[in-house]
């Protein structure tokens, strides 16, 4: 059994609906592949440096677990396929820090994180139109006419 650290980015829509259910998504995935979860806590909820799967914000879940080397392949594959997990990072660690055990225990069963802000989704369906269609047509026509006049004078 090796010791691993796993960081999982969770979709804020799932976290907003139920944080425990979102946390259970990760823990169930780990347990399904025979891992022993030692610590799991909400590390942070923050704005991403670049959009990931159309999300601008995400909740970071930090886990420490013990598992055999063969379990990691299955965990990676499951995390890749699950749409609620935006991204993951699994690292082998020599020891699990004691502070993580304390922080994970302090989170407890009744922990309720503050609801994430509402600007986590990139609105891709919004049409990129500036001004009304009539006004745009008039501008285009006037510019074309203007350019034509200048060209004639230069010639």
């Amino acid at each position: 059994m090796n010791q691993y650290e796993g960081m999982f980015l969770l979709d804020n829509q799932v976290v907003r609906a139920d944080y425990k259910a979102a946390k259970a998504v990760v823990i169930d995935t780990l347990k399904k592949h025979g891992a022993e979860v030692v610590a799991a806590r909400r590390w942070d909820e923050r704005r991403l440096a670049y959009p990931i799967e159309g999300r601008l914000r995400a909740t970071f879940l930090l886990t420490h677990f013990k598992a055999g080397p063969n379990a990691i392949t299955g965990i990676r594959r499951e995390a890749e396929l699950d749409e609620r997990i935006l991204r993951h990072l699994l690292l082998a660690v020599e020891e699990i820090p004691a502070t993580e055990l304390e922080l994970s225990a302090a989170e407890g069963e009744d922990f309720a994180p503050p609801p994430p802000p509402a600007d986590d989704a990139v609105d891709r369906e919004e049409p990129l139109v500036v001004g009304t269609p009539d006004a745009v047509d008039e501008d285009v026509v006037s510019e074309e006419v203007g350019v034509g006049i200048i060209d004639e004078e230069e010639v």
Binding site: M7, L9, W43, R46, L48, I52
Partner: protein
């Protein structure tokens, strides 16, 4: 006949005794620390600027790349 000039010995990039590997525990979650060694364009600074030893510079590189993968740091600033 042109004589071959003897090349001058180069000074070390990082002067001895000025390495700053006091705390080698570089972690991808410690963003306040690792962003000190990035340019405003989010590039990783070289050893000449960071004054890290080769081992710590590799750890720094790995930590920044892990943070980029998780969306904590940008690839391009």
């Amino acid at each position: 006949m042109a004589m071959k000039m003897a090349s001058k010995p180069r000074a070390p990039l990082v002067p001895l005794g000025k390495k700053r590997c006091d705390d080698p525990r570089i972690d991808y979650k410690d963003l306040a620390y690792i962003t000190k060694f990035m340019t405003p364009q989010a590039q990783i600074q070289g050893r000449r600027r960071t004054s890290f030893c080769a081992q710590c510079q590799r750890q720094l590189k790995q930590a920044i790349k892990r943070a980029r993968h998780l969306g904590l740091l940008p690839f391009v600033g």
